[in-house]
């Protein structure tokens, strides 16, 4: 009890301090107004959730008074003061695109790291190696065109994509991490290709002079666009989070706490905390004492809200019914399950991607493209380059047991291409064309089940699709899609030949390919953790405590209102029936014989 109170006092204190910081931070210039040069850019707004406001005004630094021609030139300037920054960053998965703490074992028995940079496969654009200049436009470096990229060159670290505060720094989608420069030729500035729209060069000098802590916009520069487009991958991250409305994200909305990503994704020595493939985001779910040497990260909701959030709120006078009961849910139900009531609340997210349908042209030979209306937003339904899609807006997620760890399928993992999905307990979900009579390969598996004390019920966007696989080796394959580097002629978006694209892609991935191309249904789980709604929008009790609710198919636990023991039900109802019958007939007999009673 005592410790509980101590923690609560701590939370209230922390919240109070946070609130003060929130009210004083925005609008307060980071630099000293008096000494700003006349032509100085607007001072960067301190990012809440960063480690305090800056004490240095970058616009006054001599080394930044240059007309930078390229990004690496800027980095070189940054490194003259921030001597260790690039080395710190190079140790993180933002740079390596590989797991830093975990390895996986290859078929040859060798322990190797994995990540989006190697071995990992998804059911979006499938794999990075072979498609570099496109995928690596989101790398935190400059020039990862192909496997020859120099991962030890410090000047290739891109400081600006995270530290720009002007909003004018954008990595060009096909330039392997570079923005558009003054001398970039026109044809390399047009996006989308053939649209006639040309990007302006990034004002590197202005940007360098106004750097700040990363904001939602900085992180979102890449993370809102995972999969190559807004909302493609995550069901809980898109541009709406740059300045979200309150109903979209209570933490990040300027009308709410106005927090930035790094408030929770705490960062030490440039290592941003978070889940990375099989690495869980956090181990413990409990209040975290800020500043203590044991402080790891604040990713678990409990890091700030404690394990008694509803009772705390009730004590603060908020109208919370059954606070203790709600807190007691936490052993089986994640906070996210109720507090992220729907996914993709503001912008659509992709739920289905059938690569096998790609390649169709219109009758006149032009690439086929079909757009449909998704709750008022136009979304692609067919694209010759990519196949068939289903997008959704503001829909319920699916729910799965999840203990924070995942199991990933790699480029050499044998998949089950015979057992029908229905025999493995698969479901189609509401927005897929999955055929349960055919096999379904898991891109990733959320670990944990009802018997795992660490597993809880999580809201999940399940992205389903059909993609090519090696029917001989029984592995997923990584076709070369983007004709940016390497064997460009073989790329699918050039030749529209899956066989060629797969051969080239697997070669660039150093992976074997039997030549037997097949198509397989896949599903990939995206546990939701963002877009936490205001408390009053939380999922209501009966949405799960009912026979046809959101948790209708979830196995392994008893949910009052959803589950019943039919033996008890029938026996109980039967007894009630018999008793009623007995009472009624006894009473009737009494009435009938009442003549003889008197």
């Amino acid at each position: 009890m005592r410790t509980k109170w101590t923690v609560l006092v701590g939370v209230v204190g922390a919240l109070g301090a946070g609130a003060l910081g929130l009210t004083s931070a925005p609008g307060q210039p980071a630099g000293q107004a008096g000494v700003l040069p006349a032509a100085a850019p607007a001072p960067a707004q301190p990012v809440v959730g960063g480690r305090g406001e800056s004490t240095a005004d970058h616009s006054t630094f001599e080394v930044l008074q240059q007309d930078f021609k390229t990004g690496p030139e800027v980095t070189a300037a940054c490194l003259t003061c921030h001597t260790d920054a690039a080395q710190q960053l190079m140790k993180t998965s933002h740079w390596t695109w590989l797991s830093t703490d975990q390895t996986t074992t290859t078929a040859a028995g060798e322990a190797v790291p994995f990540g989006k940079g190697a071995r990992v496969i998804n059911n979006f654009c499938i794999a990075v190696p072979g498609n570099e200049p496109r995928c690596t436009s989101c790398h935190i470096g400059y020039g990862w065109k192909d496997s020859s990229f120099d991962f030890s060159n410090q000047n290739l670290v891109d400081c600006l994509v995270c530290h720009d505060s002007t909003g004018k720094y954008k990595k060009f989608p096909t330039a392997a991490g570079h923005p558009v420069y003054a001398d970039t030729p026109d044809e390399q500035r047009e996006w989308p290709k053939g649209s006639g729209k040309f990007w302006e060069p990034a004002p590197l000098r202005e940007i360098a002079q106004s750097v700040s802590m990363p904001s939602r916009q900085n992180c979102g520069e890449c993370h809102f666009f995972g999969g190559g487009g807004e909302g493609v991958k995550h069901g809980d991250m898109d541009e709406s989070l740059a300045t979200p409305a309150l109903h979209v994200d209570v933490h990040m909305s300027p009308d709410g706490a106005d927090m930035h990503c790094i408030a929770c994704h705490t960062t030490h020595s440039h290592k941003v905390s978070g889940r990375y493939y099989e690495q869980a985001a956090y181990d413990e779910r409990s209040f975290v004492l800020r500043g203590s040497p044991h402080e790891s990260n604040l990713l678990a909701c409990e890091s700030c809200h404690t394990q008694w959030p509803h009772q705390t709120a009730a004590r603060e006078g908020k109208d919370v019914k059954n606070a203790a009961r709600l807190d007691a849910h936490q052993d089986r139900v994640s906070c996210q399950a109720c507090h992220i009531p729907t996914m993709a609340r503001e912008r659509p997210t992709k739920m289905w991607w059938d690569w096998s349908k790609a390649g169709e042209k219109n009758e006149d030979g032009t690439p086929k493209k079909v757009m449909v209306d998704t709750k008022g937003t136009k979304t692609p339904q067919y694209d010759m380059q990519k196949g068939e899609f289903i997008w959704v807006l503001d829909e319920n997620p699916e729910y799965r047991w999840f203990n924070g760890n995942t199991k990933q399928v790699f480029i050499d993992t044998k998949i089950d291409d015979t057992t029908p999905g229905k025999d493995r307990g698969k479901v189609t979900g509401l927005w897929s064309k999955i055929d349960l009579d055919k096999p379904i390969a898991d891109i990733n598996t959320l670990l944990g089940d009802a018997n795992d004390p660490k597993a809880r019920i999580w809201p999940v966007k399940v992205h389903r699709g059909i993609q090519p696989y090696d029917a001989g080796n029984k592995t997923l394959v990584a076709p070369k899609l983007f004709p940016g580097a390497g064997d460009k002629a073989a790329a699918y978006w050039k030749a529209f030949d899956w066989q060629k694209a797969t051969e080239a892609g697997m070669k660039e991935n150093n992976a074997p390919y039997s030549g037997q191309l097949g198509w397989i249904q896949t599903e990939m789980n995206w546990p939701l953790a963002h877009m936490v709604a205001p408390a009053e929008d939380a999922v209501g009790c009966v949405e799960c405590h009912s026979t046809n609710g959101r948790l209708a198919g979830l196995e392994g636990l008893y949910i009052p209102g959803r589950d019943r023991n039919m033996l008890v039900e029938y026996a109980g109802m039967g007894l009630i029936g018999l008793t009623l019958l007995g009472a009624v007939s006894h009473g009737a007999l009494r009435v009938l014989t009442s003549g003889s009673r008197k």
Binding site: Y558, P560, R564, N565, V568, G572, R590, S596, R597
Partner: protein, 204 residues
């Protein structure tokens, strides 16, 4: 036949409070169990079920104290004397002019059948309902404290539900039996006013 104070003021207070509480627990419990019902919204039903559960337990504490200190607990001691006669009375005698085979007096309020049923309730159904209910309420803490993570909540729920069904069966029987006094309303009146006539055969 003489009028006596059959039920003391506390006894009546306890009886009617308990009726109200059990009715409330029944209604709220039903709403929790059958979410298709719309008597109350789920959260309110849960909240009220808990409030009335605690009221029930509080009242039980008083009632137990009263039973012990007043010696009234002896009224519930089972006896098989006249048990057969009672069964026969309900099955046959009641439809004729037969008199109640067991005399109801201030010190022997309960006939042998009632003794059995009420005793069963006090030592079986109520404790099972309350214990399973409390276990239901604190199941996550209990699991953690005693390492019972593998024992499913469904076990607790099944027990609670089975006892609740028996409760309903009792209620129906009980409500009907009220009407089987000397007159249809005699028993009801007695439990309201406390006054009843000692009646029935003087010996069994």
């Amino acid at each position: 036949m003489s009028k006596v104070k059959m039920y003391t003021r506390f006894e009546r207070f306890w009886h009617w409070c308990q009726s109200a509480i059990i009715l409330a627990l029944l209604v709220t419990g039903l709403q929790i169990h059958f979410t298709g019902l719309t008597l109350l919204d789920f959260a309110t039903a849960v909240q009220l079920h808990r409030v009335f559960a605690w009221a029930f337990l509080g009242l039980a504490a008083f009632a137990i104290f009263w039973h012990i200190t007043s010696g009234e607990w002896k009224q519930y001691l089972p006896t098989n004397q006249s048990l057969g006669a009672m069964v026969k009375f309900y099955l046959v005698g009641m439809f004729k002019t037969h008199e109640h085979p067991v005399r109801k007096t201030r010190t022997q309020k309960l006939n042998p059948l009632q003794r059995l049923v009420y005793l069963g309730f006090k030592i079986l159904i109520f404790p099972v309902l309350a214990t399973s209910g409390l276990a239901y309420m604190y199941w996550d803490s209990i699991q953690r404290s005693f390492g019972l993570e593998t024992v499913p909540l469904s076990l607790i729920a099944v027990v609670h539900l089975a006892a609740a069904y028996i409760m309903v069966v009792f209620l129906i029987g009980h409500l009907y039996m009220i009407t089987t006094g000397r007159t249809v309303a005699a028993n009801l009146k007695a439990m309201i006013t406390g006054w009843d006539e000692e009646h029935g055969a003087t010996s069994a």
